[in-house]
């Protein structure tokens, strides 16, 4: 599949080059540098074909990560893989940067050797890789028993969890993280809005615990039509009417969740990996509680522009929004800016052509107003100001989709500790995805 993986810095120095198959030579290193990194025009696609070889590339910070293949490969798969490689490197040395790559290059070679065999991705799970690829290069002296255990985790049935984990206190943290995206028309109508949520779990549990999670999911049986057509009578779905159930458009789960069981009775049951992981991802588009309403107003008069932005927090008064930041773009020809905000701090950032208005805390139900008077330079060619949208960043401790964790039960048959012995914590955070409001 993948014939080679290469890593460049922004100058085009090749820092890591690992070839897996004989169908490419070192010349691909130069071909990519010449055609993409040093290309005169910015490249308009993340996949390009040079000399009948396809180059998949992604740029993170100022690093380039490239995979090359000559086959008709699965593009999405390769990109997913490259992203996984970046995540892996971040798991090992925090930031994926030029210096870190140079200082850890032997480690990276070790990783690349392990995660791809003859171009086929093997296992990329950071937790199990970390057991035998360490920055110190240790573990050659581990006992025979441990060695076997490590490798069996790499391949085993429950690859994500090893045997014999023990904790004195059993704790479990559940984070419901949602990123709210909104595109609002100048008239105040949402053009599109969706919530991309994920449930992250951090668990410190002994043995092989069976977990069962319940959420307030209205069973919109979207796949029912297909299943009925598919002729299988597996649609044993019951409508449970709980308080304010929500319609989830789509769900994806971590490898550990028994998908078959979920299909049968919508129960989410699994044996969790040790430590931190992402249990599920979901997306909703209906009945989204938009935490902030923003109404920008622009008045242009010759060389003066007045901008007024009103923001209202649309959630329970007992909650506080945090790190609220409104970014109001201004024309490039702005010469002087007077800002006034009745809450928080607003500052003009000439380098970014925007006024940034920050508020540390924002209680539910409150409103805030901001005004800016701009003076423009007298420029001969009167180009129209291309208004990029006002964007908002925030963090609010509730779930914008309305998702709620109903219960999380834990059963461990062998060690036999009780569900009640586990301390459980649940936290909801909605943060902004791309929350944009267009100017009138």
């Amino acid at each position: 599949m993948i014939s080679g993986v290469f890593l460049y810095n922004h100058k085009g120095d090749c820092l890591i080059s690992r070839t897996y198959r004989d169908d490419i030579t070192r010349s691909v290193v130069d071909a990519f540098r010449a055609n993409v990194i040093h290309a005169r025009h910015s490249v308009r696609s993340p996949v390009i074909n040079i000399g009948r070889a396809s180059y998949f590339h992604l740029k993170r910070g100022n690093m380039w990560l490239v995979a090359v293949t000559r086959l008709n490969a699965n593009a999405a798969l390769v990109f997913e893989f490259l992203n996984k490689v970046v995540q892996l490197m971040e798991a090992y040395f925090a930031q994926f940067s030029d210096v870190n790559v140079r200082n850890n290059f032997s480690l990276i070679y070790e990783l690349l050797d392990e995660i791809l065999d003859y171009g086929y991705p093997q296992s990329t799970d950071p937790d199990s890789l970390k057991l035998f690829i360490t920055q110190q290069g240790l573990n050659a002296n581990a006992s025979r028993e441990e060695q076997t255990k490590i490798t069996s985790q790499v391949t085993g049935q429950i690859g994500w969890r090893r045997d014999g984990i023990k904790y004195r206190r059993h704790e479990l943290y559940l984070d419901v993280l949602e990123s709210v995206s909104l595109l609002m028309s100048p008239q105040g109508q949402p053009l599109s809005a969706h919530v991309a949520g994920s449930i992250r779990m951090k668990c410190y549990l002994s043995g092989m615990p069976e977990c069962k999670l319940g959420i307030n999911d209205k069973i919109v049986n979207k796949d029912g039509a297909q299943r009925a057509a598919a002729g299988a009578g597996a649609a044993q779905k019951k409508k449970r009417n709980r308080k304010a159930p929500i319609a989830i458009d789509d769900l994806t789960f971590h490898q550990c969740v028994r998908l078959g069981k979920f299909d049968m009775d919508r129960s989410i049951s699994f044996i969790p990996p040790d430590g931190e992981f992402e249990l599920m991802k979901y997306r909703t588009t209906q009945d989204i509680k938009l935490p902030f309403r923003v109404t920008p107003l622009v008045q242009e008069q010759g060389n003066r522009i007045d901008i007024t932005v009103n923001i209202k927090a649309d959630f329970d008064p007992s909650l506080f929004g945090q790190k609220v930041e409104v970014r109001i773009p201004v024309p490039t020809t702005t010469s002087k800016v007077n800002v006034h905000a009745d809450r928080g701090k607003a500052k003009y950032k000439p380098g970014e052509n925007a006024v940034v208005w920050k508020m540390k805390r924002f209680a539910g139900g409150r409103t805030a107003q901001f005004t800016a008077e701009l003076e423009l330079l007298n420029v001969s060619d009167k180009k129209k100001w291309t208004k990029s949208p006002v964007s908002v960043k925030f963090e609010v401790p509730f779930s914008a989709s309305g998702l709620e964790v109903k219960y999380l039960k834990i059963m461990e048959r062998k060690l036999g500790y009780e569900d009640t012995e586990v301390t459980k914590w649940v936290r909801y955070i909605s943060s902004s995805g791309s929350y944009e409001v267009r100017y009138a």
Binding site: L58, N83, E110
Partner: protein
């Protein structure tokens, strides 16, 4: 250590050799390892460190796992050019293959198979066979891949030693990852025979164990399973019920792999197609809006394929394709294309409105693209045509490139439905004049075309045209000159008294043109035609234009559906156009080369008459 090496890299190879041979260094494991790391670093930089081979061979006798790995990496790179010396390492490698640590056994086996020295394969056989029967699954899966490596080194090796049979046996291994690797390996080793034999028993076993494989191997195995031929519709449904849960996986590769199985197995069942598309679209839209940009980009292409096949299914989801400010350029461009294809009677209004917002984008290329898209929607959806006033509104933006692009789009639209000219042209000509697009030759040509074609509807057409004719000497582009010639002639037959003089002047200028042969020849042809037989000339010049038909893209779309979840969808080309070899694992979907070529040519022809598609087809020539 690494950073230091960069500055003075040239002179260092000799120094490294001295270091590697220094007994003091060899006694200090940490220093020894650092020197080996340095060698690897130079190797990465592209320096030739092959002269250190014999010293590196000695360095592989070490307890340090890191050093071992680096030395093996070095060996795999240079073994081919030092085949004689490589023999020296075999001993150490064989010893490592018998190590108590499965990690080391696996590593040694992987490196041994990766040496690529044909005359050493005989030494690999025993460790390889041991590896296939090893008690650690890690070693087994490595050994399985080793078989593939040796197969490419020496094709007869696998058959001579009955390795294929051993691999077949391993399909039923206890460990799922070994099973997946065995399937992958057999697919390559048996490519000449059409890959692994998928009996019902094997296929069912793989379908049932699918969830046990790692995400990457699920993709590979699903690709193999495409070749399986279910006996009945009921069988298809029970298979799809198993695959269905894969659509909930968070890895895009897995979801698209499952989607391909769905599309492939139900390709013949017309009646449930709509349900299938309905089922597939939701997970794909989720992935598109939540995955990293590059992944999102490839999902978007696959969604586009689905949209092209069945726009009705996704018509309600058009909002998912609205651009976000933070999307990278390639995603935005593609989203616009998808919006055009998803537009229909029921949803065109918000789409056109959204496009209008992009016309004011700072990125010139996208603004132009948005104008073109509005034009394409107007052509495609008859009801949207009334919205051509939207197009006219673009002209009031006072931006040169938007105006230019709008004129071009107007020409294309009126060429498609000339009957609307009566309503549109007067408004259009109120807003434009040729000096608005001094830098835009295509727009000038379009402007001239409108004057020639609809001269009878525009009162001052001759005068507008005359201004351009007078400037023809300054006009550099051949296309505009040719268009001017055509338009003047057309207008001449419509309004002879007003045009005769300028036609004479134009013909004189152009026939004396000696640089642009094409222009010269055409002018001369018309001149002679007019002289010999004016009636014949009228017939030639005022020939009715053939109506524009929406060209049929279904052959392309079907190709994309057949090669779903591959690069073909991204490039919009059949795989034959951009790969050298056929991947062994998708032999099922390959089209016979001649037909594919024909299709490709057809596709290229289509590209030529549709400008906007030309941008996103990749160039396959080395620049």
């Amino acid at each position: 250590m690494a950073t230091k090496g960069y500055e003075n890299k040239r002179s260092e190879v000799n120094e490294l050799r001295t270091l590697l041979r220094n007994p003091e260094v060899q006694r200090d494991p940490q220093r020894y390892c650092e020197v080996v790391e340095k060698v690897t670093l130079y190797q990465t930089l592209g320096l030739d460190v092959s002269s250190l081979f014999s010293d590196m061979v000695l360095a592989c006798a070490t307890r340090s796992l890191v050093q071992k790995k680096l030395v093996y990496l070095y060996l795999c790179n240079y073994a081919q050019s030092n085949s004689d010396l490589t023999l020296l390492t075999i001993n150490t490698l064989q010893k490592d293959c018998r190590d108590t640590n499965p990690m080391i056994r696996g590593l040694a086996l992987r490196s041994m198979c990766g040496l690529r020295v044909p005359n050493l394969v005989e030494y690999v056989l025993v460790p390889l066979k041991d590896g296939l029967a090893d008690k650690s699954p890690y070693v087994r899966q490595t050994a399985v891949m080793g078989c593939v490596k040796l197969f490419y080194l020496d094709q007869s090796y696998v058959t001579d030693n009955n390795l294929a049979e051993s691999l077949h046996a391993m399909i039923h291994d206890r460990d799922a990852q070994v099973v997946a690797n065995a399937v992958i390996a057999l697919e390559e080793v048996l490519a000449a025979r059409g890959g692994i034999m998928l009996t019902q028993e094997v296929a069912y076993m793989l379908f049932n164990r699918l969830r046990e494989f790692t995400e990457w191997k699920q993709c590979a195995v699903m690709n193999v399973l495409l070749r399986y031929k279910p006996a009945s519709d009921d069988e298809v449904f029970s298979i799809l019920n198993i695959v269905d849960e894969r659509l909930k996986h968070s890895n895009t590769g897995v979801v698209l792999g499952a989607a391909r199985l769905f599309l492939h197995f139900t390709a013949e069942m017309e009646d449930i197609q709509e349900d299938i598309y309905e089922r597939l679209k939701t997970p794909l839209i989720t992935l598109m809006s939540s995955a990293p940009a590059e992944v999102s980009f490839s999902v978007l292409h696959h969604l586009h394929t689905l949209v092209k096949k069945r726009p009705d299914v996704l018509a309600k989801d058009f909002k998912a394709f609205f651009c976000r400010f933070s999307d990278p350029a390639y995603v935005k461009t593609k989203k616009l294309d998808v919006l055009v294809d998803v537009a229909m009677e029921s949803n065109f209004e918000p789409i056109v409105e959204e496009m209008t917002a992009y016309v004011t984008d700072i990125d010139v290329e996208r603004a132009r693209h948005a104008v073109r898209c509005v034009g394409r929607i107007a052509v495609k959806v008859p009801a949207a045509a009334e919205h051509c006033t939207t197009l006219l509104a673009f002209l009031e933006l006072n931006s040169e490139y938007v105006t230019a692009e709008t004129v071009i789009v107007m020409r294309d639209y009126l060429r498609h439905s000339p009957s609307d000219a009566v309503d549109l042209l007067p408004q259009l000509f109120e807003l434009i004049s040729p000096d608005l697009f001094d830098d835009e030759s295509d727009a000038r040509a379009a402007f001239a075309w409108l004057l020639g074609e609809f001269g009878e509807l525009i009162e001052d057409a001759p005068y507008l045209l005359e201004a351009m004719v007078d400037d023809v000497e300054a006009e550099e582009t051949a296309a505009v000159r040719l268009q001017l010639l055509n338009s003047t002639l057309k207008l001449f037959f419509k309004r002879p008294p007003e045009c005769q003089k300028m036609l004479g002047r134009l013909l004189e200028t152009l026939t004396s043109d000696e640089i642009q042969q094409d222009v010269h020849d055409r002018a001369l042809l018309y001149y002679r035609l007019l002289r010999s037989n004016p009636d014949e000339a009228r017939r030639v010049i005022n020939a009715t234009l053939p109506p524009i038909l929406d060209h049929d893209r279904s052959a392309m779309t079907d190709m994309e559906l057949r090669e779903f979840n591959t690069l073909s969808v991204i490039y919009g080309q059949p795989s034959i156009n951009f790969t050298v070899q056929q991947p062994p694992y998708c032999t099922f979907g390959t089209i016979d080369p001649t037909a594919a070529l024909k299709q490709a040519q057809q596709a290229n022809d289509e590209d030529e008459d549709e400008e906007e598609e030309a941008d996103d087809t990749p160039s396959f020539t080395q620049r």
